[in-house]
């Protein structure tokens, strides 16, 4: 479909999001410990992955809509500004910690919590540069599959975007789900929570840096391409 490196990067970002304790594996472990059974860890994983994916989906849909009407040349600077701006904002302001969901929650509560956490941390934003590179090729591919049909072009291109966007969300979710399952179960079964005391590095900083870094990388790529 497009450059395999893009898909690998997408999977990598899913894993990166999943390994952050604040994105949900730790919540799953806590619920497992609260109930004293592994089944509770496992049961918590799908809603957490779903909420995360929904948050990413919102960003992808929004981006695709903008992408349909704004030329890439104009889109990139905006994207750069959004990524760097959001990362800097997070770095400076930190996070409010309103807890709408607590230890006694179910599927919907976990999905909502995960949606809010992913959104507040800008998980979907981190995927946008990849999406930027994927939408145009996906539209081209959709058009080439359908052959030359002049009046349907807009719809077919949109379908191409939708297909690519959905693939991005699903692949990212699968990678994220795999990571929270692996980390959550390993911590629950063998490692134990002692690892939190030294191993829980400041992902908030890492994420803010990643957002800013992504924005900067996009900027550099753009200027080298222009030169």
């Amino acid at each position: 479909m497009s450059d395999p490196w893009q898909w690998l990067a997408l999977i990598g970002l899913g894993a990166f999001h999943g390994v952050n304790p604040a994105m949900g594996w730790l919540f799953a472990v806590a619920l497992g410990l609260q109930e004293g059974r592994r089944g509770a860890v496992v049961a918590a994983l799908p809603p957490i992955a779903l909420g995360h994916a929904l948050s990413v989906l919102v960003v992808v849909v929004g981006f695709a809509a903008v992408h349909a009407v704004v030329a890439p040349d104009h889109l990139e600077p905006v994207l750069v500004a959004v990524l760097i701006g959001f990362g800097a904002y997070r770095l400076v302001r930190g996070y409010r910690h309103r807890a709408r969901v607590g230890m006694r929650t179910g599927f919907a509560g976990l999905a909502l919590w995960s949606f809010l956490m992913a959104s507040a941390h800008g998980a979907g934003l981190m995927l946008l540069p990849l999406l930027l590179g994927m939408l145009a090729p996906a539209q081209m591919m959709a058009l080439s599959l359908c052959g030359p049909g002049a009046e349907m072009t807009g719809t077919v291109a949109l379908l191409g975007s939708a297909g690519a966007g959905l693939a991005v969300v699903l692949v990212h979710m699968a990678a994220m789900l795999s990571m929270i399952a692996v980390v959550g179960l390993i911590v629950f079964e063998t490692v134990g929570l002692g690892i939190l005391r030294r191993g829980w590095v400041n992902f908030d900083m890492v994420w803010a840096a990643a957002l800013i870094g992504t924005g900067v990388a996009l900027l550099v790529l753009r200027s080298t391409a222009a030169a």
Partner: protein
């Protein structure tokens, strides 16, 4: 500023916190009762047995104004920062939030640069508290997953209802009232929770006008002081259930929920039973999806010669135990019960919370007993009051003053204040550490104690 790894004093579970290194410093609220109207202070006590200044005051921070009545206080952040649903562990346990119970002024002290000489970095004036939360008389303070929770005895005007307000744990701004629906709750005192149950619990003392002039015998005999416990939905901020101990059980005070978040029970003391002056300990526990309470310990009044009793008690010919504080060890096994009237510190094994066993008792001070300390010449007054247990459960610290205007009613000669330490043996024994007897300077009275790095009533945990 955010740190790279969590504060080393944060522990995921109470079990892990018990492995923490022993505390070297203790912070103690020091009420000043001088007629010269000197300010209250936060004292810093050396509790390192290897130190040459062991058991002595090594630092003191005076508050900016007189008349605060420092009472309870607590940390800006603790182990609850590791909770999975509001994770923010890259903060420091660094600031002590020190409210004035009478002045409603809240002081923020930074302990980082020199832990023995904390610096006052911010003061929240009572007007700001009233404007933002319509509360006054801040009392108990707990670092929660999403902010600092503080109970308040009164509303902004000094009447009722009292309740709970939130403070931001970064800026220390007062965020506002916590309650969305307080139901029938009116009186306030302590607040704590079961994080594993999404349940908050509050208890009842009285509104400021009921307590500030002293214990009012008419209100007491009329059973007007608090005798109810309230259970709340911690997430929805709504009142769920009231349990009435019965009007004869006056002054429902300290709440000590099990530290293990998978357990859903806890302990509370009722100070005085109007029928016989006894004190009682109550257990709350889950029943039929709600909460239930039952009395598990009765501590009777002790007969006494009226000549030895203060005016308020002469007619009763007995000294009430006046259990005014309790503390639960981090393993949820040992409950310490401070009998301020009879001058006794009791230790109970509450492995089976429904069947507590008294395993040891130490006598110090007391209205009649005046029991001495082996490290100090002469009789003592005041009695065991604010009690704090070290994280490893091996050391028990306490002071002997309750609340200024109430002190004068039960110890009218004026409390000479002290702080002591007991050693708690693994088998249930208790012994007085002869080397540790801190006599506060005249004019100062010690109240709540907080231990460096956390103690048995400072932290909450989300993992068993």
């Amino acid at each position: 500023m955010a740190t790279w790894t969590p504060d080393p004093s944060f522990y995921p579970s109470p079990r892990m916190a018990m492995q923490a290194p022993p505390e070297r410093l203790a912070y103690v609220a020091m009420l000043n009762v001088d007629t010269a109207a000197r300010p209250d202070a936060l004292g810093v006590v050396d509790v390192d047995p290897g130190s040459s200044r062991y058991g002595r005051l090594v630092g003191r921070v005076d508050m900016p104004k007189a008349g605060d009545e420092l009472h309870h206080f607590g940390w800006n952040a603790c182990s609850s920062a590791l909770c999975p649903y509001a994770p923010h562990p890259h903060v420091e346990r660094r600031y002590l939030i020190v409210p004035g119970l009478r002045s409603s002024r809240i002081h923020i002290l930074d302990t980082k640069a020199d832990p023995t000489q904390p610096k006052i970095v911010k003061v929240i004036e009572p007007e700001e508290l009233a404007a933002r939360a319509n509360y006054s008389r801040p009392h108990t303070l707990h670092c929660g997953p999403e902010g600092i929770y503080v109970s308040a005895l009164g509303n902004g005007a000094g009447g009722g209802p009292g309740g709970v307000f939130l403070m931001d744990h970064d800026s220390f701004d007062v965020l506002g009232q916590w309650e969305i629906d307080r139901g029938p709750q009116f009186l306030a005192y302590d607040v704590w929770w079961h994080l594993g149950q999404d349940t908050m619990i509050t208890s009842e003392w009285g509104t400021p006008d009921m307590i500030e002039g002293g214990l009012d015998p008419d209100l007491l005999l009329g059973a007007k002081y608090g005798h109810c416990v309230h259970f709340w939905d911690l997430r929805k901020r709504r009142h769920q259930q009231t349990i009435d101990l019965g009007p004869e059980y006056q002054l429902a005070l300290e709440l000590r929920p099990a530290h293990d978040p998978t357990k859903a029970h806890g302990f509370m003391n009722a100070v005085v039973n109007l029928t016989d002056l006894s004190s009682s300990i109550w257990l709350w526990h889950r029943r039929d999806g709600g909460w239930a309470m039952r009395k598990i310990i009765d501590i009777p009044a002790e007969p006494a010669d009226p000549d030895q009793l203060p005016p308020m008690l002469k007619g009763f010919k007995a000294v009430p135990p006046l259990v005014t504080d309790i503390d639960l060890s981090l393993d949820d096994r040992w409950l310490y019960v401070a009998c301020w009237g009879t001058g006794e510190m009791r230790r109970y094994d509450v492995s089976d919370p429904f069947q507590p066993k008294l395993t040891a008792s130490v006598r110090l001070g007391g209205i009649v007993g005046r029991s001495p300390h082996p490290g100090h010449q002469g009789a003592l007054n005041g009695g065991p009051q604010m009690v704090e247990v070290s994280r490893d459960g091996k050391r028990v610290y306490f002071t002997n003053s309750l609340y200024r205007s109430w002190d004068e009613q039960f110890y009218p000669e004026g409390i000479k204040s002290w702080m002591v330490k007991l050693d708690a043996a693994p088998d249930g024994g208790l012994s007085i550490d002869e080397r540790f007897f801190l006599r506060f300077d005249d004019g100062f009275r010690g109240h709540q104690i907080r231990l460096e790095g956390g103690d048995a009533s400072s932290d909450s945990y989300c993992y068993p």
